[in-house]
Symmetry: C2
Subunit: 150 residues, 2 copies
């Protein structure tokens, strides 16, 4: 990964973090994402499961729907998802259906992430880049849950 590519990934991950902060402000688990196509953000999302009373209202699910609407087609074959936390099984399954080109995530999720299944959940052509701005993404989550326990 070249320095320039790394900077691009960090730039978009900062946008995903902005979305995560919006969730935090609503007292939602702070997870955010953006979907990028041809160097342009075409969809944004942040976790709204509590606000909407809906387990399916993860950041990624909303962004997938929104990106497909923007593109006028349901496949995201030319898109990169930037998300602050490793996607869960539901979201990974949706990303498989969407045939997304690339997933860049911040913090790993050993408990709820798709990777723990150690099974072919994603589309075989989907590239995965973990650990971009990992510390910032994880810190925001830790701060949120510390506040919950206090």
């Amino acid at each position: 990964m070249s320095m320039e590519t790394e900077n691009i990934h960090e730039r978009y991950m900062r946008e995903a973090l902005r979305e995560a902060h919006k969730a935090y402000e609503r007292d939602e688990v702070p997870i955010g994402c953006v979907i990028v196509s041809h160097n342009r953000i075409i969809a944004r999302g942040h976790n709204l499961t509590e606000t909407l009373n809906d387990v399916t209202a993860h950041a990624e699910m909303q962004a997938i729907t929104s990106a497909a609407e923007y593109l006028g087609g349901k496949y995201l074959t030319d898109c990169t998802l930037y998300v602050t936390l490793e996607p869960c099984i539901m979201c990974a399954g949706a990303l498989k259906w969407a045939q997304i080109s690339r997933i860049v995530f911040g913090a790993a999720d050993a408990k709820g992430g798709y990777a723990r299944l150690n099974a072919p959940v994603l589309h075989p052509k989907t590239e995965v880049i973990p650990g971009v701005l990992e510390e910032e993404c994880r810190s925001l989550l830790q701060e949120f849950f510390r506040g919950k326990r206090a």
Copy 2:
């Protein structure tokens, strides 16, 4: 499983099949479902991925959202999902988050179903009953795809 219980499962699976027929009529892959709580159908759904241009618009996803709205809470711990085809990984992941009590499905899906992962996708407390009205559920799908190839 007592005869009476079997009849109850078949009765609700016929309702799921009615939903699948609605999808068929819209030229959607014919999959349908209902969610039952305390012997009452509280949500219905049929596949709308083409109509809505959205890979997340599976029958189950819509019904989960709808059932949670009906119940005023996001957990479906006292609910049974009846669905004509074995849920995919995305839907199984959503059903895990919803902590649904029971999943009754018609036809198995060796290619796209969650079970092929051979991994703990569902909530450990979720009971699964496969093969209810299997032939009817499978026939409807076969008829649809035969029509597509013709």
